[in-house]
Amino acid sequence: MDNRLRHIHKLLASYSAGDFDRRLPISKHLDETDAVIGGLHMLAEELKAVTISRDYFNNIFNTVSEMALVLTAGGMIEDLNEAVCDRLGYLRDGLIGRRVDVLTEDVRPSLFQQLRRRRGPDGLVRIWNRSFLTAQGEAFPVEITARVLAGSGARGRHGILVTARDIASRLSMENRLLRAMIDAQELERQRLSRDLHDGLGQQLSAVKFLVGAVVKESVSSPLREKLQAANESLVDILGMMREICYNLMPKSLDDFGLVQAVRELAAQTEKAGLMRVVVEEGRGFPTLARALEVDLFRVIQEFMANGIRHGEATHLLVRLEVKGREVEVRLKENGKGFEPALVQGTGMGLRNMHARIKSHDGVFRLESSPGKGTAARISVGIG
């Protein structure tokens, strides 16, 4: 083979390997072969301008701190960066070729369904609050952004680039803020309840006592009847005030503990004809730290209120028990249910419930689906 042809072959091999800087000298003949070499040099310049090498791409892909995955149009993981392996503890080969939904919690709709359904006109999908599961099965809160990649896969098929940002520290800060707000709210409720009970309540009781005394001494029948009516109104007002005080901060929670406070709440709710509430107490349910009792009570109260207000539930089961070194509260109502993924991050009530339990390093799990009611399981370690 002609020596210059041999060099041209080597030049082409370099270009096909991505080394576009290699050049051959133009000979002194300035012949047709030199023209071909010149053409190949031009080709290399253009290729260098429009091509990025796999190493260059991998360096960028693996340097970004966000987790990044490339999916096929069918939701299979085609590529992933090192951040995914580092954060979630998977081996790269363990994820390639598997469905992206292996990374997410068992929550409907699946992540891939969300990626398909929520795509905006710009091809972007944003999912604010979802969790990836680590290889150890722990939930890892992430904010997801996805974009359709035109012609990214084999034979130019469409793919999806998914990036996931770790929002654990942001959520933790939000939860601390929420906790501070909840604590301030509880203090204010406590103060209001005390003021109402000790101030207004005592004054009303005194007035009621006086009116009662006048009723006894009154000789005029019409006056006596009016005073009697006033006295009955005062009894109603005192009852309403006690109810407000109870809702603000049940005294029984301080005096008799969580179980008794929940039983009172159940009795009040049933008496008001709002729903049937069954409270079951497992053996040996202990007295808990006051802050935990208040939070568990508020979560039960919120769950009940949601069931009545949104779920049209007519029956609620509350079960409080101890399992090993954890207290567990199970709640189950028979309302119309909902799609949990569709309300994630939207309602303050749900966020408050999560934040209250999370602040005790506990776990709050909510399960619901349309037509099947709603259930919650709360577990908190008790040291």
Binding site: L30, D31, D34, A35, G38, L40, M42, L43
Partner: protein, 126 residues
């Protein structure tokens, strides 16, 4: 008689049918300066009247990247309504195909190995 201009880099000829024939000389390395000179000469020769151009490559060794960019820019194609490039060997033909694909000249451009095919194609732009 056809008008002809012979420069150090290219020979320009306006045919009776109005097509401009530009024959690039052999063994040329086209730099940006040379490219600008070629365009200036062409515009002066044609009086800036847009017309189809037949480009005959007799063996240009290389066109520098900056020169390629200029020749496919608005300034570089001024006075050209369409261009047909005749390439005399297959290797250069395919290399030129790729370069045209990347540079994307802003007017109709095609490559041919035979002059009569190129002329037939250019006639459609007269």
């Amino acid at each position: 008689m056809n008008l002809i201009l012979d420069t150090p880099y290219v020979t320009l000829e306006i045919l009776e049918n109005g097509i401009l024939v530009a024959t690039y000389k052999k063994r040329m390395l086209v730099t940006l300066e040379i490219a600008k000179e070629i365009v200036a000469d062409r515009l002066e020769f044609t009086g800036r009247v847009p017309r189809p151009v037949l480009i005959i490559n007799l063996g240009v060794l290389q066109i520098e990247k900056s020169a390629r960019r200029y020749l496919s820019s608005g300034d570089g194609v001024a006075g050209i309504s369409a261009s047909a490039i005749i390439v005399d060997n297959l290797a250069t033909f395919y290399i030129m195909s790729f370069i045209l694909l990347v540079e994307k000249p802003p007017m109709p451009t095609a490559k041919f190995t035979r002059r009569n095919q190129a002329m037939d194609w250019l006639q459609t732009f007269l």
